[in-house]
């Protein structure tokens, strides 16, 4: 193996400046991305703690249904509320767009930064404030409204901790809006001249579609939460039936955001899938344009389907029928994506590296999540499954199965770019497989429990209700899932703390621009300006070179820093 000069002493964005303030006050999108990443992981651990609390509480025999006290029930109600709110607002929504998107998006565009770096920093700081408000909520009170904050319970019947939680979610909303706004402008204005819209990596299409939803939908949840706040503190009456208000109106406002928000969570995961399947099959993505356009179609359709959360809410039957019909429209583009990913594997050269294992898990998990969505879009069956564990299992398959697995797969994929180290050992693979198995064991039984009528948000079930078996397996699965995720995290942390040789610029063989700069990238992303832009999925542009244990351009430019750094003798 050729000696390399690619060692830690090369100046990169990680070691260019030092000290707490150089991170906290940075405007570098890469550092902000990493700070988001670790903050999101911290929140994920917090949300996961409450998830385990829920599962352990529901383990048959853990709590005696007959003698359960009001305090125990409140503690459970608090656990599922905090689990939901933290996972949605603090983990899944910011996970891929804010953490990975921030890190990767300008690199993929060959740009030096996002369009508004200071706004980017501001939105991270807003996020921190929002997160702290959530933590404050945990400390001061017993938040027990469910993450949906439905009035009149939230406004008139529960303790004041709703105020801090709602304020936190409101602020997090603005953080999300500013991130989306930043990405839209960056993608519009900072693409290199050669990169036309249809030469953009698919991850960027997904992030773009996500950003459109973020700026359009998030303001509506902002104002709805503000109204809850006003209602709670001043009894303004818009949602309160005693004052003539309409509680169903809040549900309209809430789901006008929260349904598109599902796609804020899922679309970026789909974007990562497209990158993974092309790179690890060493083949151009199949049906580039359909995947790109389906992202946009999903973003647009997501705005006209919110009423399927309200089929039994007292919404008029007319609207339920309209919304049911519209809901199916969003299923088609999702199906197209899955078929295109699978076709990309056809006649490929498929490598089972860790990111690809996550990618393949997602196909199956999203398959189940998406297909079970059909039962919930259909009016007749939704009436039966609404507010049961069937719904719980369905949205976990979509959110965890696609968004979270996509997030972890993305972290493993771009980890070499972030920290200059490849994590691809057997341990990481075991982590992925265990998570996959544990996840299925947790949530498959919930489908059955749900179809048998098991209502969600119950602090305990009596044995005579007949749900014990399903809860038992679900809790067992949660343990396995916990083990799998812990191993995945452990793999990353070990790599973070252990010093080793830096990875090549392009360990996986991606053709998108972020692989054209050294790992980790220098402070301003690219040393040569502008980078060469080609077809993002033309795999023949790079070839495997054993001496660097990675890929290099077939026709490198003379000043290509990756070639120069890695193999000085040959260059």
């Amino acid at each position: 193996m050729a000696p390399t000069t690619n060692t830690l002493d090369r100046t990169n964005y990680l070691n260019a400046t030092k000290g707490f303030m150089s991170w906290f006050w940075t405007i570098d999108h890469k550092r902000l991305g990493l700070m988001y990443l670790w903050s999101v992981i911290a929140c994920f651990i917090m949300g996961g703690f409450f998830a385990m609390k829920i599962r352990l509480n529901l383990m048959p025999g853990a709590v005696d249904f007959a003698t359960q006290t009001a305090e125990q029930m409140n503690a459970y109600n608090n656990a599922f509320t905090v689990h939901g709110a933290v996972m949605v607002f603090l983990v899944i929504i910011p996970s891929i767009p804010a953490a990975l998107g921030n890190f990767v998006l300008p690199l993929m565009l060959g740009a030096k930064d996002v369009a508004f770096p200071r706004l980017n920093r501001f939105s991270y700081h807003l996020w921190i404030i929002g997160a702290l408000l959530f933590v404050a909520t945990l400390l001061i009170g017993n938040l027990d409204t469910g993450w949906t904050f439905y009035p009149p319970y939230s406004t008139g019947h529960t303790d004041p901790s709703v105020i801090t939680a709602v304020l936190g979610a409101f602020i997090l909303g603005f953080s999300s809006i500013f991130t989306g706004l930043n990405f839209i402008v960056t993608i519009h204005k900072m693409r290199p001249p050669q990169m036309t819209w249809f030469k953009m990596p698919l991850f960027l299409w997904a992030i773009y579609a996500t950003a459109v939803i973020q700026v359009l939908a998030t303001p509506v949840i902002g104002i709805s939460l503000l109204l809850i706040l006003v209602e709670k503190t001043m009894q303004i009456g818009i949602f309160t039936p005693e004052l003539g208000g309409d509680p169903v109106f809040f549900q309209h406002l809430f789901w006008f955001y929260s349904h598109p928000a599902v796609y804020i969570m899922v679309l970026p995961g789909m974007g990562i899938m497209s990158e993974l399947f092309a790179t690890f099959s060493r083949k151009p993505i199949f049906g580039y344009k359909s995947i790109a356009m389906s992202s946009i179609a999903i973003a647009i359709f997501s705005f006209i389907v919110w009423g399927h959360h309200m089929f039994i809410s007292g919404q008029s039957d007319l609207m339920s029928v309209i919304f049911s019909a519209l809901t199916f429209s969003v299923a088609v583009p999702s199906a197209i994506k899955v078929f295109n990913w699978i076709s990309t594997m056809y006649k490929g050269s498929i490598s089972f590296s860790v990111p690809m294992l996550y990618g393949m898990s997602i196909i199956w998990l999203f398959g189940i999540g998406g297909l079970t969505g059909l039962f919930l879009a259909t009016l007749g069956t939704d009436v039966v499954f609404h507010d049961t564990y069937f719904v719980v299992a369905h949205f976990h398959y979509v959110m965890v199965g696609s968004a979270l697995f996509g997030f972890i797969g993305g972290i493993y994929y771009w980890w070499p770019k972030m920290y200059g180290k490849v994590v691809d050992g057997p341990l990481a693979k075991v982590g992925c497989v265990l998570s996959f198995l544990g996840f299925n064991l947790t949530f498959l039984p919930q489908f059955v429990g749900g179809s048998k009528g098991m209502p969600r948000r119950y602090a305990a079930y009596g044995s005579e209700q007949g749900f014990d078996d399903w809860n038992y397996w679900s809790t067992m699965g949660a343990m396995v899932l916990l083990a799998g995720l812990s191993i995945a995290l452990f793999g990353l942390l070990r790599s973070f703390f252990v010093k080793g040789a830096l990875s090549p610029a392009n360990p996986w063989g991606g053709v998108t621009l972020e692989w054209q700069t050294p790992s980790p990238p220098p402070e301003h992303n690219f040393e040569i300006d502008p980078p060469t832009v080609g077809d993002p999925y033309d795999m023949s542009l790079v070839e495997y070179r054993g001496e660097v244990e990675g890929f290099l351009p077939v026709n490198p430019r003379e000043d290509d820093p990756c070639v120069a750094y890695i193999a000085p003798e040959e260059a």
């Binding site: 359009l216 509506v220 309409d246 169903v248 109106f249 309209h252 006008f256 705005f303 006209i304 009423g307 007292g314 919404q315 008029s316 039957d317 007319l318 609207m319 309209i322």
Partner: protein, 120 residues
């Protein structure tokens, strides 16, 4: 590099003649007076429509001239129209829904009053 940036200055922004600004302002004031007058007059049920048409005219004037949309990139105008369209869909769906379930609300209110009277 600095040369090209110097040359591109001409493209940045559009200076609006003062005369146009004054004319637009005049129109806006006139329309405001008109809307007050029509608002007080009996329009045989078309009040809301007339008021909204006048307001939309005023809004268009502000958008096109004060906000430079007439001279700006069409994309910015599209963004704005897109937002208005989204609000339109949102509004139409919710209003349609609320109107269709009013019956049950009215039933409830009527019964509530009847029960109160029985109680007394």
């Amino acid at each position: 590099m600095s040369d090209s940036s110097h040359g591109s200055e001409g493209h940045i922004g559009h200076v609006l003649p003062l005369s146009i600004l004054i004319k637009v302002f005049g129109c806006l004031v006139a329309l405001t007076i008109l809307t007050v007058i029509t608002g007080k007059a009996d329009m045989y049920g078309a009040d809301l429509a007339v008021a909204m048409i006048i307001a939309t005219c005023k809004a268009s004037l502000v958008c096109l001239f004060f906000m430079h949309l007439k001279y700006d990139r069409p994309f910015h105008g599209m963004i704005f129209l897109f937002s208005v369209m989204c609000v339109g869909i949102f509004l139409a769906f919710v209003a349609l829904d609320a109107e269709s379930y009013q019956e049950h609300v009215k039933d409830f209110k009527a019964n509530e009053i009847a029960e109160q009277q029985l109680g007394e």
